[in-house]
Subunit: 355 residues, 2 copies
Amino acid sequence: MPEPTHRFLRACLRLPTDRTPIWIMRQAGRYLPEYMATRKQAGDFLSLCKNPELATQVTMQPIDRFGLDAAILFSDILVVPEAMGMGLSFGTGEGPLLEPVINSASDLEKLHDPDPESELEYVMKTIRSIRRALDGRVPLIGFSGSPWTLATYMIEGGSSKTFSRIKGMMYDRPELLQALLDRLVAAVTNYLNAQIRHGVQAVQIFDTWGGVLGHDEFLRFSLESMRRIVAGLERIGPDGAKVPVILFAKGCGSHLEAMADSGCDVVGLDWTTDLARARVRVQGRVALQGNMDPAVLSASPERIRREAERVLTAYGPHPGHVFNLGHGITPDCTPDKVAGLVAAVQNFTFGSHAP
Amino acid sequence: MPEPTHRFLRACLRLPTDRTPIWIMRQAGRYLPEYMATRKQAGDFLSLCKNPELATQVTMQPIDRFGLDAAILFSDILVVPEAMGMGLSFGTGEGPLLEPVINSASDLEKLHDPDPESELEYVMKTIRSIRRALDGRVPLIGFSGSPWTLATYMIEGGSSKTFSRIKGMMYDRPELLQALLDRLVAAVTNYLNAQIRHGVQAVQIFDTWGGVLGHDEFLRFSLESMRRIVAGLERIGPDGAKVPVILFAKGCGSHLEAMADSGCDVVGLDWTTDLARARVRVQGRVALQGNMDPAVLSASPERIRREAERVLTAYGPHPGHVFNLGHGITPDCTPDKVAGLVAAVQNFTFGSHAP
């Protein structure tokens, strides 16, 4: 298999690069005025996700503006539960609402196993459209939520602070939760494989809520599902290139070794994990992605530069680092701060900065 | 110094006990109908905190109902910023509001260094009243918020999701943040020493928001302030007994070794840290408190019992374990679930249960 040339893909596969690649979770988002304009044109967030032309526009905006090293498909993790038959809406300022919630075996039976080629066709169209727009400039990342994270929304009906419904099910009816997770493993595997067939060049699985679990529960109810998905992915894209898989689990720094053994190529870290120690802990088994605190972007340009250099220096001059924030960029950020961050990463060279 | 007789105090000092003691964070709270009745009588939450007679009532309610092994002063961490001169209110369902927020050196100058004997006299009255009501049945725990955690509320003006204001200050004006932390170190040290003089037999420092920091920032901006407080405490109470200090920092499992070196007697853990490994990591330097997921209380009685036994077994038959939840009990809990949990801990004996 030929080695990839794009520095993002090379870093994912722990191959040497000319500099550390950078992309940013939620790089296409509310902090960008051009995003807000396109979103207004679309009407609302979900309509934007389902409009291949406009979703392509917002995917391209941060690439055009900042020269980032990867684009990421503009979509939402909850389009999968929607394609399985759940009602999905985004209340103003309230986060997502899914209904009816899953609370029994008969609720589960009503769920549908979606064919991504038809029922998520708009995503596939968007992927092809973005690839045309990118025209080989940088690779395109596809994504999905993890089964555990998707299950939290499907069982809680939306965001939660306490996760009492899904945890109640986990403790008292683990077989029901497992049955839902099994359905999601199949749906997500099919969905990501379709994304790969239509042109994404890497995939990221977001386990946003794995961090609310204890260690044993994380292994059993979150990581195991992700491991099965990774095992079921077509890791070679239609162009014959290897498709790296990134696992990002927020608040899961203490489960790092287990994540590194999941079969993925890259583990994404939030900012509470020390990157230097994380590199030692994974012992070269995976690349690492991250992990600057998004809150640094509210600091001064000088401070942003120093923090970026601190993260780069923490990983050190070894292959296998993809620079990113430790979580999505927040809407109160401003584009000039992001420009400063990207420049800091792009201009950094090892040896010229104090550790 | 004579050894304490109460099993909670003995466990804090890693002395052998007849069984593992249990208390529960927020054991006096909204899940108890008798609490709701007393709170209604008081008018609102803050009035309840400031009424020594009613605060004593609610402190005693879970002791009377469940036979827990320690009582904890009914109060709120934000009475300290209020005593420093900030306006404090609790909006309905919105969490606390503090104003005006701290954003400059002149804001800081306007803060007052409170004399706890006069400006927090109602707390001292409550402590004496609770000690009379307890009449030696179980020890009384006093508490305070950590300087970092109090500073988040004082700088953000209330709860926050992103902590962008305090983190902006931490990155760009660390000397200003440090000056506020210094004021809080003094205020909290004075406050806890006054609590000890008036009769609390152990103290817990709650670092609710230390977990939003990276490792280096946690050490510098949160743990160091707590270390200075611990060093400044009068560790011998008026009765000549040692007063154990508990540090509880949510989401800080990866900083455990550093916390164990802070001079405290007990480290409180949330449920995301494996208790067996945590015990090995602290190497007998401190006792451990925790760490059942509060969400287990939404499960069946049988499952609650099994999870309690799993936590007890994870620590094992060694001195130095205080059973607790990994965070406060949630309002949607019911008293019968708590009764089942307490019974499970009280009836547990090592050797009779599978690990």
